[in-house]
């Protein structure tokens, strides 16, 4: 076991907690696995068809879950990939266009085609708003069906093509059932691995707190592209299985209703969950079979269920089953940071340097937000930035962290200008920040939110996470240990497993600080961290920030609480109307005539 600082902290307890909760989380999956393996013993031939169909649908939905449930993209038209996969597999296996291929090879080729097409369908997500993207996916679904209808020489048009027949032992009904079931199990395992990896957490960060995700170094395009590739491949494979199950496919088998079914299963199951959408897929596949009239009304029922879920329980089945998070929390919780742990957390040495703004100017419309600002943040110092509302404090912070691009002047780190338009690169330069309004992933736990801060320190690739290879597991262990240490340092370790949306406002602020600390930042930019904190908490925050600076981190503290500023800052800059009004030590500022007049009062 690596001798990380965190490992020495509380040996064993975190591990025990983690392992019991893991077993608890795995139990439903094991139950379903058992049910699925023994199904042929009690399910008749007809229910076998339904069960196989549920497995095939789940193969697709498991991949789509990453896109919709985790990344939050409203991809309504994913049936396009089912169609593509079904036709590719069938046409290649039947030998319409080229010599017959073995069905497994046809399926593999379909998966590759699906990956490529998944990427194509997904690309607009990077440029378009939510609703626009949703509409384009619907358009894609229609187009694929139209092409299937028109390209008669290959797809048979309205006549259709026979589906592939997999060789022994998968050609019998139950044989094929086990084939699909195994693939469903593998997909469940893979996507559960992703969910519990830095990629899964990064996806939820993009979904719920995109701005914060960028600050943590998460590059949205690359991550979304990866997920679309995977999801497309898996959906196309499901298409091949679907074609084999149907034994014959025509374009009208691929309706928008089916696409809606997939999408709704994820929403009803609950975003950010694997178990929820799995249960929902099984439920929605089996439901219409219980009564013949239900079949005609099935889409109506799915839509009604979706509406109920959105209005009453947006977290879906996953939220309903989340008993762990219904246990009441302690009512008089106190946040007790441990500044002594900060040294262990930020113990890795970083090279010296300063973060400087030179004559930076930025206007919005006719308003000069900042007008020729000079600022120098030195390592190991707490630098306070104060001023009345509208003086440009937050704007300056946003310029440093890359959310705004200055019109004039330069932002330099160690003398080198920071690249423009590269918000997510700031994290790689060890510049971390918090936000005026806490930006967190509400449905995730405190620990998971903090682990998001360390995303870029992971070394394993997406595929390694998919297959839970050793490097992924090492990354996760290290990340978890570091995050627990960060939580202990800010005083929130007892709330590690609690859902963030149950926290009080002050706890959210400290969570953000813990997340920022995960970057081992050279510079930490804090945007009004004391807002909404009690006097006690401000005092403890002060001690924490002082300790952070002592380890060599340069801290920029944008604040309104003058006491906090004068308590811990070595240097203070006062802004007014976008310009520096005064800069110096706290003592100098406190007695500065103009500052007192304009801002401090008296």
């Amino acid at each position: 076991m690596m001798d990380t600082p965190a490992a020495r902290l509380r040996p064993g307890r975190a591990d025990v907690q983690a392992s019991t909760s893991t077993i608890g989380a795995a139990l439903p999956f094991l139950a379903l696995l058992l049910l699925g393996v023994t199904f042929p013993l009690f399910g008749g031939g007809y229910w076998g068809v339904i069960a196989t169909r549920a497995c095939v649908y789940w193969v697709l939905v498991s991949g789509l879950n990453l896109v919709v449930g985790f990344a939050g993209q409203i991809a309504i038209g994913w049936v396009a990939l089912l169609t593509l996969g079904a036709y590719t597999t069938s046409v290649l296996a039947a030998g319409n266009v080229m010599p017959e291929l073995p069905p497994y090879l046809a399926l593999a080729i379909a998966a590759v085609a699906g990956a490529a097409f998944g990427l194509i369908i997904g690309l607009p997500a990077l440029r378009l708003r939510t609703f626009y993207f949703a509409i384009t996916t619907v358009g894609f679904a229609t187009i694929v069906t139209q092409v299937a209808l028109a390209w008669q020489s290959v797809t048979g048009g309205g006549v259709g093509v026979p589906g592939p027949i997999f060789p022994e032992p998968f050609s019998s009904q139950w044989g094929f059932y086990y084939f699909c079931f195994s693939l469903a199990v593998i997909c469940t395992w893979m996507t559960a691995n992703v969910a519990a990896s830095r990629f899964g957490r990064a996806l939820t960060a993009i979904r719920d707190a995109e701005v914060a995700a960028e600050a943590c170094g998460i590059a949205k395009p690359a991550l979304l592209a990866t997920v679309f590739l995977f999801s497309g491949a898996v959906a196309a494979m499901a298409g091949g299985l679907f074609a084999a199950l149907q034994s014959y496919i025509t374009p009208d088998a691929f309706t928008l209703d089916l696409s809606i079914l997939f999408f709704i299963a994820i929403l009803i199951g609950g975003r950010g969950s694997i178990l929820g959408p799995l249960l929902a897929t099984i439920l929605l596949t089996a439901l219409p079979e219980f009564a013949a009239p239900l079949v005609a009304w099935s889409t109506f029922l799915y839509a009604a269920l979706l509406l109920v879920i959105v209005l009453a329980a947006p977290g879906g089945i996953a939220e309903i089953l989340d008993f762990k998070n219904r246990r009441p929390l302690e009512s008089n919780r106190a946040i007790i940071p441990r500044p002594d742990l900060v040294g262990r957390l930020l113990s890795a040495p970083v090279d010296a340097g300063a973060l400087t703004l030179e004559q930076v100017a930025l206007s919005f419309g006719g308003v000069h937000a900042i007008d020729g600002l000079d600022l120098e943040i030195r390592r190991g110092q707490v630098h306070g930035l104060i001023g009345p509302n509208g003086s440009g404090k937050t704007t300056a912070l946003n310029v440093i962290s890359g959310y705004y691009v200055q019109e004039r002047g330069a932002v330099k780190l160690n003398g080198a200008a920071l690249p423009l338009f590269a918000r997510h690169r700031r994290a790689h330069m060890r510049i971390a920040r918090t936000f005026q309004t806490p930006r967190v992933v509400g449905s995730a736990s405190v620990l998971e939110n903090v682990m998001i801060g360390g995303t870029i320190d992971g070394k394993g690739t997406f595929v390694e996470s998919l297959l839970s290879l050793p490097r992924h597991r090492r990354d996760e262990a290290k990340l978890r240990d570091t995050a627990m240490l960060a939580l202990a340092a800010v005083g929130l370790e007892r709330l590690a497993r609690v859902r963030v949306d149950r926290l009080q406002h002050s706890e959210l602020r400290f969570t953000e600080i813990a997340r920022a600390l995960m970057l081992h930042p050279a510079f930490l930019l804090l945007d009004e961290p004391a807002a909404g904190l009690s006097a006690d908490e401000i005092g403890r925050l002060a001690a924490l920030l002082a300790a952070i600076a002592k380890t060599g981190t340069g801290v920029l503290l944008v604040e309104h609480h003058a006491d906090l500023i004068f308590d811990i800052c070595q240097h203070v800059t006062v802004l007014n109307l976008g310009r520096v009004l005064a800069t110096g030590t706290p003592a100098e500022i406190r007695s500065h005539r103009e500052v007192v007049h304009a801002y401090l009062g008296g």
Partner: protein, 285 residues
């Protein structure tokens, strides 16, 4: 051939433009795009056929009832699918709630009305041929709506109140404008416009439940290309879309036409995500 392309293209373009305006009116009131816009268009045709052809009411009565039906659906959309979601932190829920509502209405119509396109009654007893009513009715409807909205927004108090809550909700609230009531009224207005589009286009599109997803898509293209909330842009884009689509239809046939329209749409949208006339995205930190 050319005159057919022009007359059909402009007529259907006007229907698309009207659905685009429906989207815009709902968006202006709530900053929400509702999936029910296309469903409103579909209901205009279905209700018109139901009241006039199947139940035998006079044309004017059927017309008013169809518009009333649209208003009711608009109000239901606001109360059930939009208002509850605006309060929550997750803004994207509105996509799901309006989608769910639209689907429920579409499926209900399919099962209770018919899964097949049903004929829409001929509204005026004039002989066919030449510049037929199925072409000029949608154009007339579009013109009436545009002029009406202009008058509403610029010359009436309630219209200016609509503009105010569209511009800046907080300021409007601070001025004491009844935000909720105005939003409700906006959605009712959008419902009337959508139903009018479907009714005027009934003879061209027939009374068919599957017009809903079709209009949801084709009615959104004018919004995307013309710019969010921009009604004039929606009209121009709608007419261009109609002409392009019909030209493709007449020259190469249905299947390729829809592929062509969609491909052009996505390319243009990727090049200009804010529309051909839209403003640059502002940062929101």
């Amino acid at each position: 051939m050319v005159e057919s392309i022009v007359s059909t293209g402009l007529a259907i373009g006007c229907i698309y433009a009207l659905i685009g305006i429906t989207y815009n009116v709902m968006f202006s009131a709530s900053r929400v795009f509702s999936f029910t816009a296309g469903t409103l268009g579909m209901l205009g045709g279905v209700l018109g056929s139901l009241f006039i052809a199947r139940m035998g009411m006079p044309v004017a009565v059927g017309f008013l009832l169809a518009l009333a039906g649209g208003a009711v659906l608009g109000i239901v959309t606001e109360i059930v699918a939009v208002r509850p979601v605006l309060k929550s932190l997750d803004q994207h829920l509105y996509v799901l709630s309006t989608l769910a509502l639209a689907l429920m209405i579409q499926q209900f119509t399919a099962i209770e009305w018919s899964t097949e396109p049903q004929p829409f009654p001929r509204l005026f007893d004039i002989a066919r041929g030449g510049f037929d009513q199925q072409y000029w009715l949608p154009m007339l409807a579009c013109a009436v709506v545009i002029v009406g909205l202009e008058l509403l927004y610029r010359h009436t108090l309630i219209g200016r109140a609509f503009l105010a809550i569209a511009e800046d909700t907080y300021a409007a609230r601070a001025l004491g404008l009844p935000e909720r009531g105005l939003r409700l009224a906006s959605f009712a207005l959008a419902g009337v416009i959508g139903a009018l589009a479907g009714f005027a286009g009934g003879e061209m599109l027939l009374a068919f439940f599957a017009n809903a997803p079709m209009l949801t898509f084709y009615g959104f293209v004018p919004v995307a290309l013309g710019g969010m909330g921009n009604n004039r842009g929606a009209v121009v884009a709608g007419l261009l879309l109609g002409l392009f689509q019909q030209a493709a239809n007449f020259l190469v046939g249905g299947i390729f036409a829809s592929v062509a329209v969609f491909t052009v749409f996505i390319i243009v949208l990727m090049a200009c995500p804010e529309g051909l006339a839209g403003a640059a995205l502002q940062r929101r930190v």
